[in-house]
Structures are given as C-alpha cells and as structure tokens.
C-alpha cells in the first residue's frame, strides 16, 4: 500500500511514528500525481480527494474507489484481490 498526501515528509514521518504505520507514506507536494489520478482538480487544491486505486501486477488499473467508508474499505479491497 502506498499512501499519498500533500503534507510535507516531516509531517508524514511524525504521523507514521505516532500511529505506528509501517506502510509507505508519500508526499505529492506539487499535486502532479494527484492530478494524474484524479485526486485533485488543480495544482493549488489544498487537500487530496479521498480516493484509492488498485493496480495489478501488470501496472494496469484494476479498480478505483471513491467516497469509501474507511473501515469497510480494507475488506472491500482484499475481496477484490483475492
């Protein structure tokens, strides 16, 4: 899993430590990746839209998710890759 946000890497480090996250947290400071994936409408959007994208071993999009319930989301994704 790769988490992407616009927060500075120093904040991501603190957050990962605070909540015990071991996954990769990535900083998309210029929004270029968010723009490519539809998680931002413009380069000055303050916060990323909450979406996720499941990508297969061949680098192609398997499924996209938006407006999901965070608690149920993990189960939904696991069902899609199983």
């Amino acid at each position: 899993m790769l988490g992407i946000t616009f927060s500075p890497t120093v904040d991501l480090k603190k957050w990962a430590n605070d909540v015990g996250l071991e996954q990769q947290l990535l900083c998309d400071a210029d929004r270029s990746v968010a723009l490519a994936y539809g998680a931002a409408e413009s380069a000055d959007q303050e916060r990323a839209t909450r979406i996720s994208v499941l990508i297969g071993p061949d680098g192609k999009v398997i499924k996209t998710y938006e407006g999901f319930n965070a608690e149920a989301h993990a189960d939904d994704v696991l069902a899609d890759v199983s």
Binding site: M1, L2, G3, I4, T5, F6, S7, T9, D11, L12, K13, K14, W15, A16, Q24, L25, L26, C27, D28, S32, V33, A34, L35, A36, Y37, G38, A39, A40, E41, R47, A48, T49, R50, I51, S52, V53, L54, I55, G56, P57, G59, K60, V61, I62, K63, T64, E66, V77, V81
Partner: protein, 45 residues
C-alpha cells in the same frame, strides 16, 4: 479530473516517502498495489 479508467495503464510516479527516500510505482511491478490518497496527515487538522 477523472479517476483512471479500469484497464488503463496506471500513471507512473516517483515521490519521497516519510524517510525522504524516493518510491516509484515501478518498484511494485509484478504485484498488486493499492494507492490511496488522503486529505492530510493527522486526520482533521
């Protein structure tokens, strides 16, 4: 901006992680990877 179409090639990227190390989508070639965008670290602030 629209979400990527199912079956389309996922846009490549390289971004720094929480340790300042660059991570690329290519690093995950050959496996499933879930990319999730979230508003900000620390929840609501």
């Amino acid at each position: 901006m629209a979400l990527p179409n199912t079956g389309s090639q996922a846009p490549a990227f390289t971004l720094p992680n929480q340790d300042g190390k660059d991570v690329s989508l290519d690093d995950y070639a050959g496996q499933n990877v879930l990319i999730w965008f979230y508003p900000r670290a620390f929840g609501n602030n």
